[in-house]
């Protein structure tokens, strides 16, 4: 059971490595959007510190959105998705592998670069640590929830816009608790509670979303 998940992850990572432009463009999008705020607002440190969590998280949501339409679209177009659906392994497990691979190439790089971007907002060391942790814990939920949207809009014309409309509202809880964790740390309340909730959301999303996506994919394949 684990073997099919790891072989799907290995395949998707290999494909992503051969198409690095996708990963790099989402990452640069994140870097640029986040960097625009300090440039636009100017050197008002207190204001920047207040804005930082929200700005970083909104940029992370949008950067994740960028890579979502291709999550299933390539496999759908070249017929691989049919073969995945006809595999003797449950489609939900295969989608779990795809979601994890998506997180490794989209969520993980965001978390790694976030502390560097956070410096532009004059965040303290502790706040940067919590920010990284929150993005690390929250982005798998974004990949999971996004997979449902990507599966539902598969094969539709103008699916990209519809996908954003479907998925962004569902990202709100992750946004609130993700940004809240950093806010709480900055104000001295401690962000542990927020981080726990983020972890819970991630586990729920990784456990449940692939099966919902699999059901949607089967409809798309009919």
């Amino acid at each position: 059971m684990l073997k099919i998940v790891t072989s799907v992850i290995a395949r998707d990572l290999k494909l992503a490595m051969r198409r690095q432009a996708d990963i790099v463009s989402a990452l640069f999008f994140f870097v640029i959007v986040v960097s625009l705020f300090p440039l636009g607002i100017g050197p008002e440190v207190d204001l920047l510190r207040q804005l930082a969590p929200g700005v970083l998280w909104v940029a992370a949501l949008l950067a994740t959105m960028l890579s979502l339409p291709r999550l299933f679209a390539d496999d759908y177009r070249d017929g691989t998705l049919e073969q995945l659906a006809l595999s003797p392994h449950p489609l939900g497990l295969i989608v779990t592998g795809k979601v994890i691979a998506h997180w490794l190439v989209s969520g993980l790089p965001l978390a790694l670069i976030a502390p560097i971007l956070g410096i532009q907002f004059d965040l303290s060391g502790e706040a940067l640590l919590v920010l990284t942790g929150a993005i690390l814990l929250g982005t798998p939920a974004l990949s999971g929830i996004g997979a449902i949207g990507a599966a539902l809009t598969l094969g539709l014309r103008g699916g990209g816009v519809l996908l954003s409309l479907l998925v962004l509202p569902l990202y709100i809880p992750v946004l609130i608790f993700g940004a809240g964790a950093v806010d709480a740390t900055v104000s001295g309340l401690g962000g542990e509670g927020h981080l726990s909730l983020l972890t819970a959301m991630t586990f729920a999303a990784i456990g449940f979303a692939p099966w919902a996506s699999a059901a949607a994919l089967k409809i798309a394949l009919e």
């Binding site: 099919i4 799907v8 017929g79 073969q83 659906a85 006809l86 595999s87 003797p88 295969i94 394949l221």
Partner: protein, 204 residues
């Protein structure tokens, strides 16, 4: 044995066929014929369980395929219109990945052998985006060389192949039937399959 009973297919508002049934036993091949739009591909997609029939039932080894998706898929090899190969991967990587997803074990040597058989010797390590249409089709067909699952469902397997490759593929299908396999396929070119019990089914 694959049995189809009283199948009905409705696409959009139109009924493509109804009351269709057949039995396919070991060593048998069904040639599915019919004009464009008669529902050949729809029927194949019903047989592999991707398209639920409006009416009727499909059974594999006596049990409805709906109730045994995983066991049925372990016995099924489907080759569709689309090649299901990744442009960024090499033919060898494509073949190995396909086998792994199908839950089969395939050694690298066997995979290279299969690619040689389909005429891709020396191109195992070239990304598929540099191959021609016919060569891509051959990468997809290489799956059949190493496949030992009993039921093959092939949608237009001869498309984009040259004359020599058509003969070669007919031989591969014959070998499959001789081993006691079964196959359902659609084609517009009549191709003689030397071995096995070949029947025709006309729809529409």
């Amino acid at each position: 044995m694959l049995e189809a009973d009283n199948l009905e297919c409705v696409r959009g508002e139109r009924r493509l066929f109804a009351g269709l049934g057949f039995k396919l036993a070991a060593g048998e091949l069904i040639y599915l014929q019919g004009r464009n739009g008669a529902g050949k591909t729809s029927l194949l997609r019903m047989l592999i369980g991707l398209l639920p029939p409006e009416n009727g039932e499909i059974r594999w080894q006596g049990r409805p395929i709906r109730s045994q998706n995983d066991e049925f898929h372990a016995d099924l090899c489907y080759l569709g219109h689309l090649n299901a190969i990744k442009e960024e991967l090499t033919p060898l990587e494509n073949l190995l990945a396909a086998a792994r997803l199908a839950g089969e074990t395939l050694s690298e040597d066997d995979a290279i052998d299969a690619l040689e058989q389909v005429g891709l010797a020396g191109r195992e390590d070239l990304a598929c985006k540099y191959l021609s249409q016919g060569q891509k089709r051959r990468v997809a067909l290489a799956r059949l060389v190493v496949d030992r699952r009993p039921l093959w469902i092939l949608d237009e397997p001869f498309v984009a192949l040259d004359v020599a490759a058509v003969d070669w593929l007919a031989g591969i299908i014959s070998g499959h039937l001789q081993r006691g396999g079964m196959a359902v396929m659609t084609t517009h070119q009549p191709v003689a399959i030397p071995a096995g019990n070949v029947r025709e089914l006309r729809i529409g």
